[in-house]
Structure formats: structure tokens, C-alpha cells
Symmetry: C2
Amino acid sequence: MVMPVTPDLRDLFGIEHPIIQAPMAGSTTPELVAAVSNAGGLGSIGMWMMTPEQIREAIGKIRALTDRPFNVNLFAGGWESRDVDPGTTLDILRRVHKELGLSEPAVPAPFEVPFQAQIDAIIEARPPMFSFTFGMPDGATMKRLKEAGITTSGTATTVTEAKLLVDAGVDAVVAQGSEAGGHRGTFAGSIDDAMIGTMALVPQVVDEVSVPVIAAGGIMDGRGIVAAMALGARASQMGTAFLICDEASVPAVHRKVLRQSPGENVTITRAFSGRNARGIVNEFIDAWHGQEDRTLPFPLQNVATRDMRAAAATRDDPRYLALWAGQGAALAREPMPASRLMQELVQEIEVARASVTGR
Amino acid sequence: MVMPVTPDLRDLFGIEHPIIQAPMAGSTTPELVAAVSNAGGLGSIGMWMMTPEQIREAIGKIRALTDRPFNVNLFAGGWESRDVDPGTTLDILRRVHKELGLSEPAVPAPFEVPFQAQIDAIIEARPPMFSFTFGMPDGATMKRLKEAGITTSGTATTVTEAKLLVDAGVDAVVAQGSEAGGHRGTFAGSIDDAMIGTMALVPQVVDEVSVPVIAAGGIMDGRGIVAAMALGARASQMGTAFLICDEASVPAVHRKVLRQSPGENVTITRAFSGRNARGIVNEFIDAWHGQEDRTLPFPLQNVATRDMRAAAATRDDPRYLALWAGQGAALAREPMPASRLMQELVQEIEVARASVTGR
């Protein structure tokens, strides 16, 4: 029997189950978001690479597919100004481009991510929830979000960051443990110091902040969801687990290698975007070994590697894809619709609950 | 009301509560071990630095204090043969020795840890349980342990290591997540790759091995214990949480700084022993920044830093102590007897169990 949801979860996020599908930019689609939300979880979509027009369109599509709450996400900072010689990037890309039959790689021109225009589009569209990573919107923006009735959450990788977010006025904090796949959310202090495991991070954040905490990092099934609840989290945010969903925008080979990748094969790299992110070790990451401080600054490196990643995706070639994944990747399932994954997770929650009570 | 212990836990380890006090060599005492075991947990003592005579004596003392099961631990490998110039160690120690009024530091002569003689002493003394770290005893030794009726467990930091341990014949596997304090147990593959968080490591090990799994790393209270149970672990091994016990052999300042050390202040270092271990950042660790590959090989660096650590302990000087701690250090309690800590943990388990069921 499915246990009743705790009332505060419904009040907070309007959802039935303590499951948030992580806003993985590039891998999430309106279809995935809607399927998760329709199944009683919270679907999320990553929008940092979108124009304001694309943001409006995506939110419109989600609304057409569900009347349940959903979440949209932006990077609220993290734009780097490191002054780097592009030589290493060009050398490495030249070899790969040649192999893939692509034209000569180029150094992308510096550009600004139109964060204020993105925020304006979001506030105008009024999604039920907005989450952000890599820092915090300024006070005026936080005020506008609140006035628009949008529930906000921010990503913390340390207790210090969690407190900064609460001071900024978030409604919830995502505590991102070191196990998490994709980009590290660290925005205050050193990335090396902020590699705190979910088991240690979540209860420390829970004890130090006044808002609900969402656990993220290494959570792949009902066992992890119940573990996060035991640690004091109100919900679990899961990325890697949802990559296999039919509705996700993920190359087939990426879905497949997840299950073949034990924790020791999932590493932190700057090779793909210029910013630290966790993915499955492959040839491109190996090519950068020992010289990752020579990537272009984020997000320029992301632009520089775009043609390579697109070509690799077309060919289903795992060597040059950003195979984002958390340390729980090997627990990923066979491809299935998000609605079925949600069903399985909800059933597993009951099994895990029973396992800790002996009932 | 305290839930009945699952029968297999009593069958396996003969304990009432799913709590194992970690065998922290140097910090554990017969008094601590006995207090934990008498309270229904499993006390453990680290013996790698002991002579066979000291091993016999310590086991005798524990037996005099409890008739409950307890666990003894050795390092079953990990002796390094790196060829290192001792210059950096001597330079750094010279400065510290001068400040502490100690005589000129010396390069310790290479020596062999008498593992076979230690094992012989343990098999002769027949403790109920024997655990090991940094590798595995050979087949003949495993056979002798089994014939002596001693329950064995080994430490794994990856699924690969867990499988190796099961193949070697262990009765249980300790899955040590990256959060854990003190020495990393990694014995197969690279230490950098084996930094897998408890949340991701435990369920992967549970799914891949046929023996009971003990979770370790970042577990500080009943929330963590119940979280580990949800992940499929039969018990939790906790180190940092027990450092504050009156019966532990830990300088007062070490107990105190735990609570003041959020996860981002707890790092991995080779500075103290030559082998990677997690502790609270201090002056000595900082002095080694960027040159940790120049420490003497383990355990020579441990011997080289011994006088410094002893002097710092006498003065309660945190700058030159090995302040071993996991990433959950800030959740440590005020000093108290181990019996009271066990009581608190058992009560917290019930609260955390209730929190995941909504009851």
C-alpha cells in the first residue's frame, strides 16, 4: 500500500511523491517534464542555453502537456573570465574533428548568456517553480520571482552555500552531494573542498537552514529516496536515473553505458564545458588528463566542443560525448517511459520503507 | 518503542543494534570497545601499530570488560615502496620541531609491520570478529581465521574491491564511502577514482555481493543509520561520531574542533602517514599543499611525524595533530560516555524510522 504523502510536500511543491526529476539542460524535454509531473513527481527543465523565445515556447509546451506543477532552471552565474590560451583546446579538437570528418575547430567569440532576458521570460511565463544553480539571482530578481508567485530553490554544495541561498530568500535548498552527475553547483569557495558526499551534506544542511531541503547526488531508486528522507530531506532530486527515459533527449549509447559504469568510472572533468562536471570517463576526458586548467572558460569551452558532441551524438559514438552521470550510474535501468519509472520508484519507496522498520 | 533488531543482525555479529564503532587505530581503547559492545553495538579496535604482545594484552583487557562480541582490525597491506627523497619531509618537520622545542627530525629506518605475527596473535586470541583494511590476507590466513571461528570483514571503496573481498571469503563487506574519516581503504585501483559517496556506493555493493554490507562514511546519527539501512546495509560503521566518547584516546582539542568543521574543512591528505586519509585542515596539511607526492611512503611518514603529533597532543595544539574526521564532523556531539552515545543513537534510530513512514 502506498503511504500517504506528507502534507507539507504537497503544500510546498504541489506534488504527490518526493521525487524531483533534475533539470539537466540539453537532456530534458517538455515531454519528460510533463510525464514526471503527470505521474505525481516534479518535472524540471534546464534552460540556460535557451533564448527568451525558446523559454516561452518550452514552458508553453509543458503547460499543454500537464496541469501539474513543474520546475524550470537557469544558471544564475558561473560565467568565468579566466584568461586561457586556446592552444590546448584547438590541438585536442583538431585531432577529434579530423577523425569525425568535421571542419577545422575554431575559438568561439566571447558572448554573454542573456540571464536577465531569460529571467524576464520566465517571470512573464510564471512557471510554478524556478530553480537556479551556480550562484544566486540578485535581490531585485528574487523579489520579482516572489511577487510572481513562483516558488524558488537554489543549489548548494556546502552548508555555507545553503545559508547564502536562504539569506537570498529561496523557498527550498537543493543539497547537491559529491555523487551528483553533471555540473557541480559550487558557487562559493573551492570546488575541491565542496566535494561533500550526500550522506554527510544533507543532515548538516537540514540542521542549519530553516527551509525544506531537497537531496541530490547518487540517488537512483527507492532505497536512495527513503535514505534521503531519513536524513531529513523532503524530496530527492534525481538526474541520472531519468536519463534512460524515452522522453529524455539522450543518445542511445549514453543510456547504455550508464549501466556499464561503476562509480570508479565516473569522474569530474572540465573537458566539455570548462566547468567541473561529473561524467563517465571516455577518450575526450582522457585526452585532457593533467591539463584541465587549460580549457577555455565556461561557457566558451562548451561552445568549442559543441560540433564534436553533436557529431558524436549523431553517430552514437561514446568517445566524444559528454556522458554526464552520477556515481550511481550503474544502477540505471533499461530505457522506459517516465511514467513507468515513476511507478517503479513509488513501489520501491514502499519496499525501502518496510526494510527500515522491519514491517 | 524500540523496534526489534532484525534476526540476521544478531546471527551475523551477535549485536542488538546496527551500530559498529569503527576500529580507529590510536584512538580506540579496550574501554571504548567494551562500552560500545556492552551497549548492544559492536566495539572495534585498530591494532596495526601493535606488537603481538600488545595485541594479546588488548584483547585480554576487552574480554575482562565485556562478554559481548567485539571486533579487532589490522591493515592487511598498503605498505608502500615509493622511492622518495626525504628532503621535503625533513624541511617541513624541522620548522615544526623547532617551534615545538623538539630535537632535529630524523628519517626513520625502513621497517616491516609484523603482519603475520599480528595475525598469529589474533588467531590465538580468537576474538569474535576480525576486520581488515588496505587489501586482503592471503588464502591460507583466511582459512585459518575461518577455522578459528572468527567472523571476518574487509573494507571496500569500490564495487570491484567488494567483489575481490567476497572472492577471498569474507563474511561481510564494509563499504567505505568517500565521506569517511581517517585512512581511505582503497587497495585496488586509483584512490582518486575510488572517492565514491556512501549514497552511491552502498546500494551498488549490496546489489553485487552475496554477503551482508556494512555502510561507512558520513554517518553521524540515527538519521544516517536509518539511511544506510534503507540503502540495504545491515549495519553502519561510525568513526568520527565515537571520537568524542570519554573512553576514546583523543586529545581534547580534537574532540572540540570536530563540531567546528563543516564538510568543506575536512580534506584528504597524505601529510601525516604517507597514505591518503581524511582529516580537518590545519597548518601541517597546509604546509604540504601541492607537494603531497613527496611524503615518505606509508608507514614511514607516520613514524616521521610521530614525535610532532605526540608533542601536539600533549599541548592540545590542533595545528600539528592528525585531526582525523569524516565529512560529517560538524554533527559530532559534546563529549560523553560511549554508553550514553549508544543510547542517543538508538533513540534517534526510532525517530528517523518514524520520519520515513510518516508514523
